[in-house]
């Protein structure tokens, strides 16, 4: 699958929602925990060798599961391959919880669900669709429930 790597690399250089040096292990046979600079930008998690400017890799955070593992440790896996886990060992339990919360909310799909919820709540409370005044109430991405293109 081709993709615009250049733009993704550019995204990796943007100010992050969250960034930290964390021990990370990829789901490859024999891989060990390594110190990485981990950076959350929009719905991508980039990871760098600590002294390098270009990331080693990027994880798109859609359809992923963030799991608390043992103390200070959380993992990211993807719904179609739940056993392949990217593991992250934090410095503290607090840091671990912060990352879990941030990553759970980092997907576009999460934001879409939030938006639909708020829209629906406002509609129920006021009888008015809050998106109408912005002229975006018909946008597919803001619709309640699934829809086919």
């Amino acid at each position: 699958m081709r993709y615009n790597e250049r733009e993704l690399l550019s995204l990796a250089r943007q100010p992050a929602e969250k960034a930290a040096e964390i021990l990370m292990r990829v789901p490859k046979k024999g891989s060990v925990l390594k110190k990485r600079l981990v950076k959350l930008v929009v719905n991508f998690l980039f990871y760098f060798r600590t002294d390098e400017a270009e990331p080693i890799g990027a994880l798109l955070l859609e359809r992923c599961r963030i799991t608390k593992e043992e103390e200070n440790v959380f993992s990211i896996s993807f719904t179609e391959e739940p056993e392949r886990k990217y593991c992250f060992e934090c410095d503290s339990e607090e840091q671990c919880q912060e990352w879990i919360e941030a990553l759970k909310r980092a997907s576009y799909e999460f934001m879409r669900r939030s938006l639909i919820f708020y829209r629906n709540e406002i509609l129920k409370m006021t009888g008015k669709d809050p998106l109408e005044q912005y002229g975006i109430s018909e946008e597919a991405r803001f619709q309640l429930g699934t829809h086919q293109p």
Binding site: M1, R2, Y3, N4, R6, E7, L8, L9, S10, L11, Q14, P15, E17, N43, E54, P55, I56, G57, A58, L60, E62, R63, C64, F78, T79, E80, E81, A102, K104, R105, Y108, F110, M111, R112, R113, S114, I116, F117, Y118, R119, N120, E121, I122, M125, T126, P130, L131, Q133, Y134, G135, I136, E139, A140, R141, F142, Q143, G145, T146, H147, P149
Partner: protein, 271 residues
């Protein structure tokens, strides 16, 4: 750079909602030193699927795997003067970055695509969510169902801007939030909760609030955006562009300035 391509491809074809889809002709980009010296441009018809800030394209509608992906964050979408009618281009701010030239079947299709793509950024979605959060809180308050303490209300001038992501009022300061999160979720009329809403609504808890961008709190710091103008000679967002990378740089600079100020105060022994 590695990417979790298998998962990305899976996301392209899974049942999560597509924001737009349809056939488009995609211009084939050739190298300068093409073997044949004729200059005809060619196009390939592909099935395009837009999900969030990701534009996938497939060889055809029934393909099980995408041929390619365009990450749309930071792009601008423009009508272009190609020889083709109904052509538009996805461009990036990066000098030397290639543009994706796409051709729709007709005027309506082209307009629909341009609209859908120009609102595809993560940041735009986040803005809309934030607006609705605020509105819900204000609605709560005005219905006297909320037990929250009063917070600064947002300026009503923002409302018009959501229909056009290029007009984001960046000079405005969002309200100060505790720990970067709104406090209304933890008390008051709306039950707080970590559960995500069901599709059918019903008795559902609100989803956790999306992460807040840690931007400058103008009131507390006493340094409004214009003071950064010496560092940023150009306006970060003009009506001509909704460039995401500029948005990010602008916020990043704000944070850098705040950090410096804070560090200087620390040095001077202030609390």
């Amino acid at each position: 750079m590695k990417l979790n391509e298998r998962s990305v491809a899976h996301y392209a074809t899974c049942d999560s909602p597509a924001d737009h889809a349809g056939f488009l002709r995609k211009r084939v980009e050739r190298h300068h030193h093409h073997a044949h010296h004729h200059h005809t441009t060619s196009y390939q018809r592909r099935w395009f699927v837009l999900k969030g800030n990701l534009l996938f394209y497939f060889e055809d509608r029934e393909s099980r795997e995408p041929v390619g992906l365009v990450v749309l964050e930071g792009c601008t979408v423009e009508l272009c003067e190609a020889a083709e009618e109904f052509a538009f281009a996805i461009r990036f701010d990066d000098a030397g970055a290639r543009a994706y030239v796409l051709v729709a079947d007709g005027q309506a299709a082209m307009e629909a695509w341009v609209k859908a793509l120009s609102r595809a950024s993560f940041d735009y979605m986040r803005l809309v969510v934030r607006e609705l959060e605020k509105q819900l809180e204000e609605t709560c308050k005005s219905l006297a169902a909320c037990r929250n303490s009063p917070r600064r209300s947002s300026s009503s001038g923002r409302k018009r801007h959501l229909s056009n992501p290029a007009l984001l009022p960046l000079q405005e300061k969002p309200a100060i939030l505790e720990n970067g999160y709104s406090t209304w979720g933890s008390g008051g009329g709306i039950p707080g909760g970590a559960a995500c809403p069901d599709r059918d609504g019903g008795h559902i808890k609100p989803p956790p609030l999306p992460p807040r961008r840690r931007s400058a709190a103008g009131g507390a710091m006493g340094s409004p955006a214009p003071s950064l103008s010496s560092a940023t000679p150009e306006s970060p967002v003009s009506p001509e562009t909704a460039c995401f990378s500029k948005l990010h740089s602008w916020y990043g600079q704000e944070i850098a300035v705040l950090r410096r100020e804070w560090q200087e105060r620390q040095k001077r022994g202030h609390p």
